[in-house]
């Protein structure tokens, strides 16, 4: 059952007021490359509609939410006649899903790599020697202590732990 949750809607509007400008014209869904290829399984207009209605169960609690199919190509954002910032709103919703601990594994893996090393892709031995052969300098990345401290502050570490369970 879909439960209307105005708290969620108001949270989204507070974060991004442009949500309330949407008049459901379908410019976004008509222009979306993923909506076309998934035959509407992913539909940016519907996600915005659900956000307007505050359908928390469908948006946040449902596993495998279609929202993850957004390719972040930002076409909808450029096309929207009302300048609704769809991608920003989707980001907020995805952040909420993450807090809830349900994100596709690939995001967790990237998050874990950042936690471990501060970078998304650690330098392998093979790459280091390839860099040398190409005459490229050694890269000194961020001190991991600093990054760990920051990620503790933003509560990122806990959220990754929750998601990995």
């Amino acid at each position: 059952m879909s439960v209307i949750n105005f708290k969620l809607r108001n949270q989204v509007i507070k974060h991004n007021a442009s949500l309330s400008y949407c008049y459901q014209c379908s410019t976004c869904s008509g222009g979306c490359p993923v909506a076309l290829l998934t035959q509407g399984k992913y539909n940016p207009r519907k996600i915005i509609e659900m956000a307007i209605l505050g359908l928390q169960n469908k948006l946040i609690k449902e596993p495998n939410s279609s929202i993850w199919l957004c390719s972040t190509c930002q076409k909808c954002v450029e096309l929207c006649p009302q300048k609704v910032e769809l991608t920003e709103i989707f980001t907020l919703l995805k952040n909420k899903i993450f807090e809830d601990g349900k994100v596709p594994e690939a995001f967790l893996l990237q998050g874990q790599a950042i936690l471990d090393s501060g970078i998304a892709i650690p330098y392998s031995k093979a790459i280091i020697s390839r860099r040398e052969k190409l005459g490229l300098p050694e890269i000194k990345t961020a001190p991991i202590k600093e990054i760990k401290l920051l990620l503790k502050e933003t509560n990122f570490e806990n959220k990754i732990l929750k998601g990995s369970k």
């Binding site: 014209c25 379908s26 035959q39």
Partner: protein, 435 residues
């Protein structure tokens, strides 16, 4: 002349200005009617039919045009613009710049010999660039006054000091290359009506139309262009053909709210498009009753008298499919047929539709030159640069003695333009007669 016989000035010779002029003339008030273009008639003259009755537009308009020309109470200044307005309500003086036509108005009989011989081919503004005209030309077939005009920008005599072939061929010796622009001063004007009409968004800004491939894909046209394509006197002589290959279309899609109701263009509703797309689809269907029509809309705005039943007739009798969906962009296939991808909001399905022609219902915008005119006359404009009027006095501008009617006031259809024309005439007469 008696002190009481104040005149009225009407700026703009479209249907609103024409109606105002005729009403004032019928009241016995002398009207000076100023038109920027070579002929009066305005946008209505470019239309094939009018909604919701689907009457022939020029058939309704033409008698009014000739009445304006014939009526002894109306002095028509075509190809003219207002330069200066002085004085106060009840007693304005106006300076008018009358552009030289290089054709003697009293001698030209509109026989067309000059046009036949003119070697220049230039884009025809009246036919929305869908046809070529000559450098000497009649603005449009039924135009009033029925006098030729030489377009100085393109005439070989004015650009290269050559040719003058029109002069040699004119049996009436009506060509006059020495004509000069004239400054005419009119005094004793009691009130002024501003009825300078509108432009369309494609006239100024094609950025908005870029996603729809306008001017890139030949089978994507605007509604006014399509109106010319439908018209018997238009570039295709009343046969609807694709511009790319001359084929008769089997499917036409009409896309509404192009440039209107958007933060990226005009923030207001263009007001007439919901109805005229249905009208155009009906007329197209009358040309070929196997034609399929698709109207893509955000909301159907059918607020006028008889409008809702007009839409119902479109659906029932003309096989028009109304699809609730705003179109994001257009691509084309190898035959230059437009392809539309859209979400059908009735079913939430993402669909693809290939059509032969796409008609863009482009937005009405304030007319070119309105900001300058507002300065010259001294009235205020609203946030969108239409003329500002108080809600309970809808034809009155912010300056006493200055009234307005038609689309320069806000986007509106022909019946309302006519009603406002009469309304503005009554208010203008009040000042002149009321003393």
């Amino acid at each position: 002349m008696e002190e009481a016989s104040k005149r009225a000035l009407v700026i703009g010779g479209g249907i609103a200005g024409i109606q105002a002029s005729l009403d004032l003339a019928d009241m016995g008030i002398h009207v000076d009617l100023i038109e920027k273009k070579p002929c009066i008639g305005g946008k209505m003259a470019q239309l094939d039919k009018t909604f919701p009755t689907n009457d022939c537009s020029i058939c309704i308009l033409a008698p009014k045009l000739s009445e304006c020309y014939r009526n002894l109470n109306i002095t028509l200044y075509s190809y003219s613009e207002v330069q200066k307005v002085e004085g106060i309500v009840g007693n304005f003086s106006v300076e008018i710049l009358k552009h030289a036509r290089y054709v003697k108005e009293d001698l030209c009989i509109n026989c067309g010999l000059c046009v036949e011989k003119c070697p220049m081919r230039v884009e025809d503004e009246f036919d929305r660039q869908l046809r070529k005209r000559r450098a000497i030309y009649m603005y449009y077939l039924q135009g009033v006054p029925a006098i030729m005009t030489i377009d100085k920008k393109n005439c070989l005599w004015f650009t290269k000091e050559a040719c003058r072939i029109c002069e040699k061929n004119c049996e009436k010796e009506a060509i006059d290359f020495n004509q000069k622009d004239e400054l005419i001063k009119i005094n004793n004007i009691g009130s002024i009506i501003v009825a300078t009409g509108y432009n369309l968004i494609e006239d100024i800004d094609n950025d908005i139309l870029k996603n729809y491939g306008y001017q890139k894909y030949r089978n994507v046209v605007t509604a006014l262009e399509f109106e010319r394509m439908l018209s018997a006197s238009g570039p295709q002589e009343g046969h609807i053909k694709r511009i790319s290959d001359g084929e008769e279309p089997k499917k036409i899609a009409y896309l509404q709210c192009i440039g209107s109701r958007t933060d990226r263009g005009a923030k207001y509703c263009s007001s007439i498009c919901c109805m005229y797309t249905t009208k155009e689809a009906m007329i197209a269907h009358e040309h070929d009753n196997e034609l399929e029509s698709y109207i893509f809309y955000i909301d159907m705005r059918a607020g006028g008298k008889g409008f809702q039943s007009f839409l119902r007739r479109g659906e029932a009798e003309y096989d028009i499919k109304y699809i609730k969906s705003k179109i994001a962009e257009i691509s084309i296939d190898k035959n230059e047929s437009p392809i539309i991808v859209y979400e059908d909001l009735d079913t939430s399905e993402i669909k693809k539709l290939k059509v032969d022609i796409v008609v863009l219902a482009t937005c009405i915008i304030p007319p070119e030159g309105i900001v300058k005119l507002a300065e010259v006359i001294g009235f205020e404009l609203d946030d969108y640069n239409f003329i500002k009027t108080p809600p309970f006095s809808p034809v009155k501008t912010s300056r006493d003695g200055i009234f307005t009617c038609g689309c320069v006031h806000e986007p509106m259809d022909i019946p309302r333009s006519v009603a406002e024309g009469s309304s503005a005439a009554a208010r203008a007469a009040e000042i002149i007669r009321g003393g």
